[in-house]
């Protein structure tokens, strides 16, 4: 099961992801994280044990290495960290519950696509990079005559967009997971009756 859902996530990253990265489509990370974590959470419906989503993300990341796109390292890091954050979301939400852990896992994992560029650049250049971005943002706001309220509203909107996408991923995973379970059960019952 882990192989199937890892392959699904990996194939989305290898095909759609490679194309979107190459075409420099805005919010590519958000879109791919939303779909990927939704697939992984559906996988969790079938393998409901700790570490399952992390394994799915590892498989997807290793498949991403076969991608036709040139730069695959950042997406691979993103996939694995999203898997870890989804596991954290499931643990925090209480694995025995039905809805909350899925939504929390979706929100945490999808929001990583917002943090990822700052994280990788922080690793490259050290902690000072955060100060550079803060001061650059202040400078840009001053040049464009934007009030600090508008800048904060813009950042809040982007965070909200990521959070809503995460909630949708978790919600869709619950609905599709249930539908999939029903369908597989009914087919198994038909097979038993047929025998």
């Amino acid at each position: 099961m882990i192989a199937v859902f890892g392959a699904l996530w990996g194939s989305v990253e290898m095909s759609v992801g490679a194309w979107m990265h190459a075409a420099r489509v805005p919010f590519t990370g958000l879109f791919l994280a939303g779909i990927g974590i939704c697939i992984a959470l559906i996988g969790y419906v079938f393998v409901p044990r700790a570490g399952a989503i992390f394994m799915i993300s590892l498989v997807a990341a290793l498949l991403k290495a076969f991608s036709v796109g040139g730069v695959v390292l950042n997406p691979m890091i993103a996939i694995v960290v999203e898997g870890v954050l989804a596991e954290a979301g499931l643990a925090l939400g209480g694995r025995h519950r039905e809805v909350l852990p899925f939504l929390l896992a979706g929100v945490l994992a999808v929001n990583w696509s917002l943090v990822q560029p700052f994280f990788t650049q922080g690793v490259l250049a050290g902690q000072g990079v955060l100060e550079i971005y803060t001061r650059t943002l202040e400078e840009v706001a001053r040049l464009l005559h934007l009030s600090s309220g508008m800048v904060i509203a813009l950042i809040a909107f982007i965070v909200l967009l990521h959070t809503v996408t995460g909630l949708c991923s978790g919600g869709v995973a619950i609905v599709v997971g249930r539908q999939l379970t029903r369908r597989l059960r009914s087919r198994q019952a038909t097979e038993v009756l047929g025998e």
């Binding site: 199937v4 392959a7 990996g10 650049q121 250049a125 087919r187």
Partner: protein
């Protein structure tokens, strides 16, 4: 020369480059970049392709410009504009470190295959990953075929898919169902043959003749760089 190195050798190059890049303070970060560049030139020239990526130079430019003009404390003037020479120096040191880390990471990624990465992760405690990745890789063509057939069927019955979200959901569920059933078949086949991911041996790693010698040489070099 690179054909005499195995996965442990490349791993040593990565660790040595990263250690030097992260731990060497101030202008000695240039030594870290020099070490990373020498290792890349000797063992993984493909890593230099990372330097052609425009995003990296935009990042370096942002570091230098921001540190010079608005982050660093102004200590000189460029005509009427106050600039920070000390800020520029810090920006340059950060850039040297960033370039060294980029070379090290891209070098490892270019020389260690996904299979070997799975082998390394299995040795680090992620049991059964090699088998799972193998199954996943072999499932890709059948999953793609199944998805295409499902979409064709749905299109013939319901018209353009993007106009009907419900049909899209049904397509997704059908494709997932067939993928899950295929996975059950693979798992059953492996079980019948007595395979257990937990008891399987990890994927083999490529070993090179020079791995050990290189590891000793790199450990000595990094120690000298840090202590000198």
């Amino acid at each position: 020369m690179s054909d005499r190195l195995g996965t442990p050798g490349y791993l040593c190059c990565f660790v040595a480059s990263m250690t030097a890049a992260i731990l060497l303070p101030g202008w000695r970060a240039a030594l870290g970049l020099a070490l990373a560049a020498v290792l890349a030139a000797l063992f993984y020239r493909a890593a230099f392709r990372a330097l052609l990526h425009p995003g990296l130079w935009v990042f370096v430019g942002l570091l230098l410009v921001s540190m010079t003009f608005w982050v660093g404390v102004p200590d000189a003037h460029l005509g009427p504009i106050p600039v920070s020479v000390s800020g520029l120096a810090v920006g340059l040191q950060m850039s040297l470190r960033a370039l060294a880390i980029t070379l090290a990471v891209r070098g490892l990624a270019s020389r260690v295959s996904p299979g070997e990465s799975a082998g390394l992760l299995e040795r680090a405690g992620v049991k059964g990953l090699g088998f799972t990745v193998g199954v996943a890789f072999n499932l890709l063509p059948s999953m793609e075929r199944s998805l295409r057939e499902t979409m064709d069927t749905a299109r013939l019955r319901a018209g353009a898919l993007w106009r009907r979200p419900r049909v899209l959901r049904l397509v997704a569920v059908t494709a997932l169902t067939s993928a899950v059933r295929r996975a059950e078949d693979v798992a059953a086949a492996a079980e019948v043959r007595g395979f257990s991911p937990r008891r399987s041996r990890p994927l083999p790693l490529r070993r090179g003749r020079n791995d050990l010698a290189l590891a000793v040489a790199l450990a000595a070099t990094v120690a000298v760089l840090l202590l000198a």
